[in-house]
Subunit: 321 residues, 2 copies
C-alpha cells in the first residue's frame, strides 16, 4: 500500500510523486528499511524528503525461498528507476546477501566504506552493513538502527546524543561527533513476549486497556532489584499478585512490562547521560517516556522517517545520489 | 508402571508389597505428589518406607475434564484400601479441590491444621495445603515442595537447614526448629525454556552432550551482572557468541542455563547460609551442585523419596495412619 504523506518534522514538506507544482522535488533515491518481520520502503527526493512510502512490506522471514528481488519489485512497483539503498536484516546471513558489520566507533564514512553492492534487474543496490561493537567481552550487533540514528542526527542537525530504539531488541547507543561510539542490546521486548505467551505468567492475564498504574508499579518494583537473580524472583509476582488479588487480571501484563522496561532503563542509564532521544512508534515511545520519567530521566521523541533520512545521508555520502 | 524399589537412604529397606518375609512391613498409607505435569504415587509402610511406587502418573493438566478420581484409581490399582494424602497442584484451584495455603512460618502442625478433606469412592483423602509467605511486599507460594522439605528433615533427623528445590520454579527455603520460616521462588527453569524455545536465542543452538565449559562460562558471567537489566543485556550474548563463533553451537544452551542458574544462586545465597541441601533429580542436582561450587558454596543432595517421607510425617501427625 502506497501512502501519501503528511509532512515529516524536520524534513522538507513531503509531496506525492507526480504533482506538477513548481516546488515539487524530483525523486532521487529509493530506501528500504527491511527487517525480520516488516519492511518500509521510501521514495526520497533531492532534499531528503519522503515523497511516497510503503509501510506494510514483508519482513525477510516472510519472503518465500528468499525471493527478495520479486518482493522488492512488488513493493516499489510504479516508482521510477533510481539508486537503491537497503538497511536492516536484509543484509544479514538470512537476508539477500550478507553485508559484514562495520565496527564501532563508526561515522557515516565508515558505513559507506562497508556498503555491500548487489545488482538486481540491471540496477545497483547498496546494502548497509549494520554495526558491531564489544562491551566488557560481550560482542553486540545491530542492523538497521544505525541508519535510523544517523537519520535522526541528520534531521535534528546534531552530531551527538544518547539514542534509544526500544522494541523486541532495545538498542541504546551513544553518539559523539557524528560517530556511533558504542551501543548495547536489551532483549526486553522479546523476553516480555516469551514470558507472556509461553510461561505460567500469562495464565492469569486478561487483555484490557493499557493499565498505567500496573505499568508504573512494575517500573517502581524494578528499582528494588539489586541483582540479576532478583528479576527471576520478582517476575513471579506477576502470578502471585494475580493469585492474591493484589492486581486486576487486566493489569498483570502491564506490571510485567513495567518491571522489564524499568530494569532495562536502570541498567542502560548507568552508563550514559541525559537526555535520551527515543526513536520508536508513538505507542512504544509513550511507554518508555513514562518509564524514563518515573525513574527521573528526561527524554525527547525523534521525528518520524529517521530511516529515510538515514538512507539519504548514507547514499549521498556514498555518491549514490 | 509400578516399580520395585532399591533402598531409600535413611528409610527402612523397601520391599515389594506381597512379599511374605517376617520383616515385611504392612502398607499403612498411600501418598501422591501430584503436580502440574507429572504425578508420583507411593505405597508407604508403617515405618515410612516406600513399598511400591508409580512414577509416571499424569499431571493435573493432563487429566481430562478434571476426572481426578478415575486417574487416581488407575494409578493405584491393586493397592490396598488405605488412608490417602495428596500434595502438590492437585490442591490448587485447577486441581481436585482448592486447599487454601498455610502461611509461613509453618511447622508440620500448621500444615496438619490446614489439611483439606475430600471423599472418593467411600475413602477419605487429605489434601496438603501448600504454603504462602511474603518477602518485601511480594507474596510467594509453593505447593508440594513443603512436603518434600518436611520429608527431607524426617529422613535426616534434622530440624533446620537451607533447602533448594530447583526446576521450572526453583524454591529456596529456610528451615529452623522444624519450621519452614520463609522461601522464595525463582522462575529459572521456565524462563530458560521460554527463551530457548520461543526467542531468537534458540535459532543458533544445536543439541549436543551437556557442555560443562559453556555452562561454567555462563555461571561466571552471571557474577558480572550488577543489576536486573544487565541480565536482559547479557542474555543476548547467547546469540552474539554464536554469531562471532566464540562458543560452539552445541554450548549455547548450556551458556544460557549457566547464566540463569548462576544469577539465581547469587541472589538466593545473599540471604541464606551454607550449606545447601538440594532436593532434585540427579541430573538437575548435578547442574546446581556444579554452579554452587563455582560460586563458592557447599551443597549436599537429599535422599530420594523425600515426598513419601513428607506424606508419612504429615499423615502421622494428623492421625491418619
Amino acid at each position: 500500500m502506497v501512502h501519501a504523506l503528511s509532512g515529516s518534522p524536520g524534513l522538507a514538506a513531503s509531496r506525492r510523486p507526480g504533482d506538477d507544482g513548481e516546488n515539487v522535488s524530483n525523486p532521487h533515491l529509493i530506501g528500504l528499511d527491511w527487517g525480520t518481520t516488516a519492511c518500509r520502503a521510501y521514495l526520497i527526493g533531492a532534499g531528503g524528503e519522503v515523497l511516497a512510502r510503503v509501510t506494510d512490506g514483508p519482513g525477510i522471514l516472510r519472503v518465500e525461498s528468499g525471493a527478495f528481488g520479486a518482493a522488492l519489485d512488488t513493493m516499489i512497483a510504479g516508482w521510477p528507476a533510481l539508486p537503491m539503498i537497503l538497511s536492516g536484516m536484509i543484509g544479514s546471513r538470512q537476508g539477500w546477501k550478507e553485508a559484514p558489520y562495520a565496527h564501532c566507533p563508526a561515522a557515516t564514512g565508515d558505513i559507506v566504506a562497508a556498503l555491500t553492492r548487489i545488482e538486481h534487474a540491471g540496477r545497483a543496490i547498496a546494502l548497509v552493513p549494520g554495526l558491531s561493537c564489544e562491551n566488557g567481552g560481550m560482542p553486540d550487533v545491530m542492523r538497521g538502527e544505525e541508519t535510523q540514528i544517523l537519520g535522526a542526527l541528520e534531521i535534528a542537525k546534531q552530531d551527538g546524543g544518547v539514542f534509544l530504539l526500544p522494541g523486541t531488541h532495545s538498542k541504546w547507543a551513544g553518539v559523539t561527533g557524528g560517530c556511533i561510539a558504542s551501543f548495547r542490546t536489551f532483549m526486553t521486548g522479546e523476553v516480555f513476549g516469551a514470558l507472556k505467551d509461553h510461561t505460567i505468567l500469562g495464565r492469569l492475564m486478561r487483555e484490557g486497556a493499557p493499565d498505567a498504574d500496573g505499568f508504573a508499579r512494575g517500573v517502581r518494583a524494578s528499582t528494588t532489584l539489586t541483582s540479576a537473580g532478583a528479576l527471576l524472583n520478582r517476575l513471579f509476582a506477576t502470578r502471585t499478585y494475580g493469585l492474591m488479588n493484589r492486581l486486576p487480571d487486566t493489569a498483570l501484563s502491564d506490571y510485567l512490562s513495567g518491571l522489564l522496561v524499568g530494569a532495562e532503563i536502570a541498567e542502560a542509564t548507568k552508563q550514559i547521560e541525559n537526555p535520551v532521544t527515543i526513536i520508536a512508534s508513538p505507542a512504544l515511545a509513550h511507554r518508555y517516556t513514562e518509564a524514563l520519567k518515573l525513574l527521573g530521566h528526561e527524554s525527547a521523541l525523534a521525528p518520524a522517517d529517521c530511516g529515510a533520512a538515514g538512507h539519504w545521508r548514507i547514499a549521498r555520502a556514498a555518491g549514490l545520489c
